[in-house]
Symmetry: C2
Subunit: 248 residues, 2 copies
DNA sequence: CCAAAAGTGTTACTGCTACACCCATGA
DNA sequence: TCATGGGTGTAGCAGTAACACTTTTGG
């Protein structure tokens, strides 16, 4: 994809003055509805032009004295109450013309979007109810048309989610304190698809890594043998940090 | 590392007006001196305050109408003539206070840095000689103190370089058209360290992947059996794109 | 013929895949 | 006692690490 810059473009750029920016932060917030095995994304309905009434990623413009990461957390807190989450920076989209508001050349302010990727615990993620219906979870499989280039950002975030899941323990940031191995497996299945791995192999792989502590407590769901509840043991995990792990 | 935002911080932020930004692009440009097996980074000596006379990553401020990526290419072209390279976005550093020029609260313009990571072919990377001595390759092992937070950005880029090397064919963007397997091995060794893999295992792994074409041409370096020259066959590689590969 | 560099092969081991099978419970 | 979900075991295969070995050159 990268290409050498056109010499003409370079020279043209140098004749231009510096661009003035407003910086936005847009969040791709995922959650897994473990009861129904659905992967969800949080979207908000726009109440202003441009793209009035389109769904979009929750975002905000960065304020004086505020760090990018803090802005990302602020968006989250404005939309949902949540106690457990994983968050990291995704990518920065900043081509001129990505936001139609730039087109009025008069002011010439550009909008740059630093996107963040978050995964939140569904159980305690309550949508803040100030503007009912304007903030909602959407199934990833059937998304509406999104404002701006948010479809692209979302795709990028989904890719990152799947990668992270394979080599990072982010699932445990978001599962309940205690969970069965089947819960864990379903979680992975919902995100990666049905055939990502055989259940029994998944079990042994994860258990062999040695950071899942069996509490011996059992839970039953209808018929069938009761399952052990496990806890993620972050101390046992610590030495494995940075090491390349495979959860797939 | 991520933490829930302090509620007080959120409320404070909302009282603030939007921040005005200038956006800078900083490049972490790596190259491998294959003759001496050294990993190099391109640095420029600052000619202005702040950090006058400190070495820093080559960077620029984004101009009107210019995309981030184009700005990244522009920096490259201003500092070195190069024909083969790999380039991708790295990370965006944007906390308030990362640039001392912000501290005069009067103007309140913030400087945000979108960093790019590049790997260039050493052989044809000629430093543009407008300001002799102010642009230079440095050994990664003995870096000077860098301006701003550039040390951090560089570390981040080095991490990315090592990761990319393990699962992407970026080495071939930067090696000569024709190379011996030993050239390739040395290239990897220079970046990943001596013990990343046994030479003969590295050979067979790479050859088994099937995208290295043996030209049958031989080249000798002093005593010893002459080595075959290979060529990266991008057509043969195409189907492997996106697939998870292991080059280690 | 020897040393140096390139290239091939072998062996032991690890880890994964795809199952078959056993266990504990509710109805 | 059967269906259901949880959990264990194993045989075959593939991939890897470590190292011994062969080949081709220069001196």
């Amino acid at each position: 994809m990268p290409q050498l810059a056109d010499q003409a473009l370079v020279e043209n750029a140098l004749k231009q003055p510096l661009a003035d920016f407003k910086v936005g932060v847009d969040n791709v917030i995922f959650s897994v509805d473990t009861a129904r095995n659905r992967l969800l994304v949080l979207l908000v309905k726009r109440r202003d032009e441009p793209f009035l009434n389109y769904w979009s990623l929750p975002g905000t413009l960065v304020r004086k004295g505020e760090s990018l990461e803090n802005a990302a957390y602020r968006i989250l807190e404005e939309k949902i109450r949540v106690h457990n989450l994983y968050l990291e920076q995704l990518y920065t989209f900043g081509g001129p013309g990505r936001d139609p508001r730039e087109s009025e050349q008069s002011y010439g302010v550009r909008y740059l979007s630093v996107s963040y990727f978050a995964l939140v615990r569904f159980a305690d993620a309550d949508i803040v109810n100030s503007q009912s219906g304007h903030v909602a979870w959407h199934f990833l499989e059937k998304l509406p048309n999104l404002a701006f280039d948010h479809q692209q950002i979302l795709q990028y975030g989904y890719q990152r989610l799947r990668n992270k899941l394979e080599y990072s323990p982010i699932a445990f940031d978001v599962l309940p304190e205690l969970f069965t191995l089947n819960n864990l497996y379903q979680f992975y299945t919902t995100i990666l698809g049905e055939n990502f791995s055989d259940y029994s192999n998944f079990r042994s792989r994860l258990l062999k890594l040695g950071f899942l502590f069996d509490t011996q407590e059992k839970v039953s769901r209808g018929a069938g043998r009761p399952a052990s509840l496990y806890r993620f043991d972050s101390e046992a995990f610590a030495p494995l940090k940075d090491k390349p792990l495979v959860f797939i």
